[in-house]
């Protein structure tokens, strides 16, 4: 970086950091929301019957579709959905279709995508728990829900944890496309800066470096999270 580059970059630094915090917030909230959702989907897949088929179809479809297409789908149909659940708002201004705020659309989309991936990891971890332990819990009179939440999930957690932490890092990286619907995230701020200065390469390069740094921060954060040694006896 030359001195000239620095004088171009400095005025944009606060905006870039605000954008980076939006990206961070979005990815972390989506990841947090995706964990219980992923557990529900994983449990549904293991339950058998129609529910298992529905859960499996959801995972297969969400994972096979481009993230951008899902974002467009949620963005362009959320207005209709909102009008359906709030009939008074729809009748008040029928000419003006309701639009969900971009951040909410991005959060819902990202949560669905992360949940579909988390469900696969969680399912694998749940399956790796010895059935003897589960039979033991049932023999002691635990209900299926108690067995799942008090025995199976805690035993599966150490196995799923590294992959789930990696998922948090990849959701930072994957969140870049949400700028397409107007979320003022890191990439959007970088694009604005690139457009209004004559240094697009500098700002996109800076954005790349900030994404890399954010990803590493999140990875370190979640790698430390929930590391409870010897809490679960095997």
């Amino acid at each position: 970086m030359t001195v000239a580059d620095l004088t171009v970059t400095l005025p944009w630094l606060p905006s870039l950091l605000v954008g980076a915090s939006t990206t961070f917030l979005l990815a972390v909230l989506a990841w947090i929301a995706a964990l219980p959702l992923g557990l529900i989907i994983a449990a549904a897949r293991l339950s058998g019957g129609v529910i298992a088929l529905a859960a499996r179809s959801f995972v297969v479809i969400v994972r096979a579709l481009p993230e951008l297409l899902l974002l467009f789908l949620v963005a362009d149909t959320s207005g209709t959905l909102l009008a359906a659940v709030t009939p008074t708002a729809g009748t008040a201004s029928p000419s003006l279709p309701l639009a969900a705020p971009p951040f909410a659309v991005a959060l819902v989309t990202l949560t669905l995508i992360v949940a579909a991936q988390a469900a696969e990891t969680i399912r694998g971890a749940l399956l790796s728990v010895s059935t003897d332990i589960l039979d033991g819990a049932r023999a002691l009179g635990s209900t299926e829900t108690q067995t799942l939440l008090r025995v199976r999930v805690p035993a599966a957690w150490p196995i799923a944890r590294p992959s789930l932490a990696a998922l948090a890092q990849s959701s930072i990286k994957a969140s870049g496309y949400v700028s397409a619907i107007g979320v003022v995230d890191l990439l959007r701020v970088a694009a604005t800066a690139a457009g209004s200065t004559s240094s697009p390469f500098l700002f996109y390069g800076l954005a790349a470096a900030l994404y890399l740094a954010l990803g590493l921060i999140v990875a370190a954060l979640f790698a430390a999270l929930g590391r409870r040694p010897h809490r679960v006896a095997h």
Partner: protein
């Protein structure tokens, strides 16, 4: 109230999006060719016993895999001409499609390199020692011993990579390429039947992914050695 699916809108959307299918496939195939060639080169470098070759190759891989693909696309499409004016006049780099293929190819190369490195490691060192003991030259060992074995390990994993690449091509629509995602967004806003348009687009992506998956599975079966299974 919730509107149900409008079948007329569904039928109308099919030819519109079908006409964009070759663009999506072209992006995926072009980027896959670039990604395989550059990925093998990068993977061989990263697997090199010489640290001064392996270290830079691994760092490049970590940087590319650690940053969003969309940033890479913007960096090449908007950023490259500003630091390298010749890019603006070259026919490949001045077009959104050319830039998208280049960015997707470079991105895919970083993931392919990891697959290549992993598959090279799966070749038992004892086999290479045996080939050396028989007096085979290093190029012969690479082409006739290492490559055929590594390819069979790499192929199933590469199947996942090419489906991921197909999904990633949708980002090209954000720099103006009219692929399936781009055509769908346009049709969705013009027709006021977004749900139907996106359902058709989703079906096309699922179909394309299934075709690519089947092609790789077919190749894996064709290449498999009878009586010899990996893991």
């Amino acid at each position: 109230m919730l509107s149900t699916v409008d079948f007329t809108a569904l039928i109308v959307a099919i030819p519109v999006l079908l006409s964009a299918l070759p663009v999506t496939l072209g992006l995926a195939v072009g980027a896959a060719i670039l990604g395989i060639l550059a990925g093998i080169a990068l993977g061989l470098l990263a697997a090199s016993p010489h640290h001064f070759l392996a270290a830079p190759a691994r760092v490049v891989g970590v940087i590319i895999r650690g940053t969003p693909l969309l940033v890479q696309i913007y960096l090449i499409y908007y950023g490259l001409p500003s630091i390298w004016p010749a890019a603006a006049t070259s026919s490949l780099l001045a077009s959104p499609t050319g830039c998208a293929i280049l960015a997707l190819g470079i991105n895919s190369a970083a993931y392919t390199a990891d697959i290549v490195r992993g598959s090279l490691r799966s070749v038992p060192p004892s086999l290479i020692d045996a080939a050396r003991a028989l007096g085979l030259s290093s190029p012969t060992i690479h082409v006739h011993i290492i490559a055929p074995l590594a390819l069979r390990v790499a192929l199933p994993t590469y199947g996942n990579e090419i489906v991921a690449l197909l999904k990633a091509t949708a980002l090209a629509s954000l720099i103006g390429v009219v692929d399936i995602a781009g055509a769908a967004r346009r049709a969705a806003t013009e027709s006021f039947t977004p749900l139907e348009v996106y359902v058709v687009a989703a079906a096309l992506y699922l179909l394309a992914a299934a075709l690519l998956d089947a092609a790789v599975a077919h190749l894996t079966r064709r290449l498999s050695c009878p009586g010899h299974t990996h893991h």
